[in-house]
Symmetry: C2
Subunit: 261 residues, 2 copies
DNA sequence: GCCGTCTACTCGTCTAGAGGAGTTGCTCTA
DNA sequence: TAGAGCAACTCCTCTAGACGAGTAGACGGC
């Protein structure tokens, strides 16, 4: 086999065999033997090396995959995940000075870091607000909202899905209801309508993706998602937008500045 | 079997059997048939119901577990995860007004929300800063730092581990090097030493936990962690502390306020 | 040289068993 | 009645096969 210096099993250890094998491979991945992108020995090679059944090897590989350390490619082999380029979300990303340059935050930031941004699956509809959304927007339940959903991609790879909810009485009849919301995005439109933005609240959770999210974001097994809910407030204290986004956690580092005063 | 109304398999679908079974169970968990905390039918019950081999059932259950939806308990059964109480981290949690009340952020917040906070595994040492830490602290590599590591628990359940790095020339000979850092925590001590805190930068990642983290945080399978790195800056722009924390993602919702100006 | 086929190798799915170990509750005995 | 012991049930680990489908390189025919 492609010898990467894997040790043998410890016959006295009571740690299950498949976990021991996973440990060995994890170890090798930390060293030079299995650098990111390299190929892990095949199932049959590992079977021969350790003298165990195929299922035992598969359990070990499965474990590593669920930890997000490897990806299996049908017909090719199992490979050590290489960390993809990440996008840093800074806490000033919605500052007015960026908005005034006429580009939505995502487009501007991605281009700056040398990526090719795109947006697809744009869908716009008018719906009754769910209890959750109504509460965040400070509306009575069942009030009508404009729903804008879309998917963001970098170099044609999906990284984020987003759904925005804007009270219908605000967005109705404006460019916000069009797929192309115009220069600076919907926040620029809201300001033109007289809703001067004051601040945003962001709520962040992390969890494993749902089935649909795995598909929409082409997520590898073992990669969690950020679930971020942002509420935009105008300077009169009124909530004017709620944005619910799900992001591939291996494509993002979130970054915030907190006051100490 | 405890009939929860599971449908049969779709013989024409090309979706693998174990995924179909997982789909059925996931569906049942969304409805009243399998509420949080309830017991999923046993492997042998599912074998009988679907007429498939045990491994196929186990694959399905394994999938749900890796999604963080269920927990298996040896000898008892598989149970639907119930969402634990979460702790909300607000972006003003390090505001001076809190610090001046003499309690560290974690203790104050947890008590406020009705939990019983505790801290254990406190270890303090002096080490050479790693390249990463040195860079964040703005120190030459290899400079000496005081390392404070500890684990936070709520109602005796671990939720977070944290390691702080403070330049030795600042912390040396102060209470910061003692396990009990005194009222208001190390941030209060830093201010007493004349480092008036100006702001914090927080960097957030999400990923699956390492082996040690699973143990330290008693994490169930399929639960990712937040990895948060906070840097504290004094008002002269100097970085005075770096804190590296790993948090169980099912115990936290992070919350930040962003300026729009 | 180019293209299609064949083959060997990869991982994916599934079957049908084995023994082990933790938990629970019943039964039988003292 | 209290306790020990046992049986039945749970999930965990592992074996030894089967067939399927995707990939890539060798090889031969055109």
């Amino acid at each position: 086999m492609t010898d990467i210096g894997l040790p043998g099993l410890d016959p006295v250890s009571d740690r299950p065999v498949f976990k021991q094998i996973a440990d060995h491979l994890r170890e090798a991945m930390n060293g030079p033997a299995l650098p990111p992108g390299s190929k892990v020995p095949s199932e049959s090679q590992l079977m021969t090396h350790y003298g165990v059944a195929r299922m035992t090897i598969r359990n070990a590989l499965q474990l590593l995959q669920s930890e997000g350390l490897t990806v299996a490619e049908h017909g090719k082999g199992v490979f050590v995940r290489s960390r993809p380029q990440v996008r840093r979300l800074a806490s000033d990303r919605f500052a007015r000075r960026h908005r005034e340059q006429g580009k939505a935050a995502f487009i501007a930031e991605t281009e700056e870091s040398g990526g090719r941004p795109s947006v697809d699956s744009i869908q716009i509809s008018e719906q009754e607000a769910s209890a959750e959304v109504a509460k965040r927007l400070g509306l009575p339940a069942g009030q009508s909202v404009i729903v804008r959903s879309r998917r963001y991609l970098i170099n044609d790879h999906p990284v984020e899905t987003a759904v925005s909810y804007i009270p219908a009485h605000i967005a109705q009849g404006t460019q916000i209801t069009h797929p192309n919301s115009g220069p600076g995005g919907i926040y620029a439109r809201l300001e033109e309508l007289g809703y001067r933005l004051d601040h945003f609240d962001e709520e962040i959770r992390s969890r494993m993706p749902l089935r649909d999210e795995v598909k929409a974001l082409k997520l590898a097994p073992g990669i969690p998602v950020f679930h971020l809910i942002r509420t935009a407030y105008a300077d009169d204290g009124q909530a004017v937008e709620v944005c619910d986004t799900v992001m591939s956690s291996d494509a993002y580092v979130l970054s915030y500045q907190l006051p100490a005063r």
